[in-house]
Symmetry: C2
């Protein structure tokens, strides 16, 4: 079964808004074994909407559309599809009542233009909208199914899951999409691919995609199969082989983020943590605390941009800064050890570096970052030169700091290689390896 | 002149990747006075690509496509378009040499499959790719222009600006898109619209779009006009009228972010700042320091999640926490005053709240946040209940803290109303105002 997705809305043809509903719809359709073969984005224009539906209905059995179901005169999807299929629009009193009740629950009365949303093509099934006023529509025509959904993502998602999936599931093909995901840190994309391509290439039935972002790469494995157990077995096996090849670089196998994984490791080890950040300026603390419940292990941190603050809040000796400079292995160590001592945390993180765009020198170019992790057993430190702009350097530094914590607990070497897309990271004073 | 954009690539039909090139292309085309009337996304399939180009060429004078120009067998855009237009593909030795030289500069030799990229439809103009191997193509056919661009955004953007715009400009219509943008904080979307709709509706020639994100709303004004000076005059006038209506809620009129504006105000006033954050956990510090050069005014901050840290790092008296609770106006004030005192900064920010998902009580529900700003003239404090999940609550709290700094300098009341899309914010203990 193949599907096309149509997004209706003139705002989607401006530079400001991208259609993101289709990513969600694609994922849910794929899980039902339905492949998406085309996406079209059209404005609020009756003729364009009709052209697009007509062409799609000639090609595929399922057309899923979003947008254009609201109360205003610009909302034309309902009218366009009814006219195209020669279906009469009939005012549905049940829908009117539901909209009126929704307004009443907010203490308002329904504006008359909302009645447009109650116009239903003859024979169509109404899909209830629990999160808004515009109902969806399910229309069957010859060999095709047309599903019309409201544009706002939270309304569309809820409606698709509760109203559309149960109706599609019995008609969906036996062959479904099975999907596994690995997250990898500490390896550039080219190195990662070089290591794992010989493995995934032997799985001709598995589609492999690498998606790199600064400091992290997602590896997606997908397989279409009617035999779910066999597909999962193949994916598990592939994942095991990849894990053997790159083991310690794998952050998670179930979509968890670096900060979630670090949080789980801290929790499992009954360990607490504190941070002393200069160039990342709170990003490590902010990421650690994105995780609900992080107050159980995160004690706190300091952001010490000035030398005085490094001394006042993390106890870095002024003479040490004087001797080695604020961006140095020694100061990173002192930050980590100082914050650990002052907070009584099991682990202390110290980060200092040059995020740019100014402040670089030949000896300490922009991107130079020193990261230290202090623990009961001693302190380890790592110096890296990250590529990219200020934001990217800070993000990669925070990622590397969190990865040091992860590696601390899994007993891996603290270092690994580093940097992903957009140029490899290098050690300070070292040479950049070119990237084609 | 109207254009359609076609994105080619099977990866764009998976749940992982959205086409983002079209946002850039739309902006650049709009500036040339060219309207985008449709976007299509197709997989790496010869028939689908041809269908899409054929239909587009029947509708518009300009088709801009991205992707499918690379060296692999999946890269079919070149072949599809040549076949559709019945143009012979000829191997271009100049392109071969350019690719070979590119490989040599990396110390590699060219893999033979790259020669595919040198196949050029007869009569087509080659668009040089300074950032990659795949050249672009400019093909004129009857009344239409077809522009084929490589998929990687950095290659596409550079090529469009240097190779395509100079060729399009002389053919583009006299009517161009003129665009102004306001950023607004502290007003819910519905309130903002209620205040400014009576103004912008009197400008029938201006297209107005409100784009809300947590804590901030972008207001875009667009006008298509052949008379640039008059268009700018109209936009300036509209902007002035809107500024009179909502003055102090406007963060910027030129796309600057909250943290950039706050940085400029601190710099202009020779003021320094320091932060003591609990629930935002470094986000305020991290945002302040996203701005290059922020080390001139940001002294540092503390993230004090535990009560002990609030006392140790910001000098909040343990008895105060005991008496009022860690989430209270009193503790926010004490955090702000304590960090100001300890760092010697001109301004101190204190933030404490319940970000959730747990920790809420009937008296202090999830979303309750107290924010204080300490200055030489005294301390102001603001209590808010923000809607949304953990991430959203933290973001809005940081936004509100930065907005208090902004308001401090422009001499506005520190408070304003708050909350944007997704439900209005309210004061603790108050009632939520419903949002339709």
């Amino acid at each position: 079964m193949k599907a096309e997705i149509i997004a209706v809305g003139s705002e989607l043809l401006t530079p400001d808004r991208a259609d993101t509903n289709s990513l969600f719809l694609t994922e849910r359709l794929n899980r039902l074994g339905i492949e998406v073969t085309r996406k079209s984005i059209v404005g609020d224009n009756l003729g364009s909407i009709q052209d697009t539906f007509r062409a799609a209905l000639e090609r595929v059995e399922l057309v899923v559309a979003s947008g254009g179901l609201g109360p205003t005169e610009d909302d034309l999807t309902r009218d366009a599809v009814a006219e195209l299929l020669r279906l009469r629009l009939v005012r549905n009193e049940g829908v009117i009542r539901a909209i009126q009740e929704r307004f009443q629950s907010f203490g308002r009365s329904m504006a008359e233009n909302n009645a447009r949303q109650a116009m239903v093509p003859e024979g169509a099934t109404i899909l209830e909208n629990k999160r808004g006023t515009a109902p969806g529509l399910w229309i069957e025509s010859k060999q095709s199914i047309i599903v019309l959904l409201p544009g706002p993502p939270r309304e569309l998602k809820a409606m698709f899951q509760s109203e559309v999936e149960p109706r599609l599931a019995p008609r969906a093909p036996a062959s479904r999409l099975h999907h596994h995901e690995l997250r990898v840190a500490g390896l550039p994309e080219s190195d990662l691919d070089q290591r794992i391509a010989p493995i995934y290439k032997t799985y001709a039935d598995v589609e492999t995609t690498l998606l790199a972002s600064p400091g992290e790469i997602e590896v997606h494995f997908r397989i279409w199969s009617a035999d779910g157990a066999e597909a999962e077995r193949r994916l598990d096996e592939l994942e095991r082989h990849v894990a053997l090849a790159i083991g310690e670089f794998i952050i998670s196998t179930d979509g968890e983020t670096m900060e979630q994984v670090v949080g789980q490791l801290l929790t499992a080890n009954h360990a607490t943590i504190a941070t002393a950040e200069s160039c990342t300026a709170g990003l490590v603390a902010e990421r650690l605390t994105r995780v609900a419940g992080s107050s159980a292990y995160f004690l706190g941190g300091v952001v010490c941009y000035s030398n005085e603050m490094k001394t006042a809040f993390a106890g870095v000796p002024a003479a040490l800064i004087e001797a080695h400079g604020a961006v140095s292995a020694e100061v990173a160590r002192s930050l980590a050890e100082g914050i650990r001592r002052r907070t009584g945390a099991a682990l202390g993180i110290g980060v200092t570096g040059v995020a740019g765009p100014s402040g670089g020198t030949p000896a300490k170019p922009i991107g130079t970052v020193h990261i230290a992790l202090a623990a009961a057993g001693g302190t380890i430190e790592r110096g890296v030169v990250f590529p990219g702009d200020r934001e990217r350097i800070r993000w990669q530094a925070a990622q590397a700091a969190l990865d040091m914590v992860r590696r601390h607990f899994i007993g891996a070497s603290a270092l690994g290689t580093s940097g992903t897309r957009g140029g490899a990271a290098r050690t300070p004073g070292g040479k950049t390896s070119p990237k084609a």
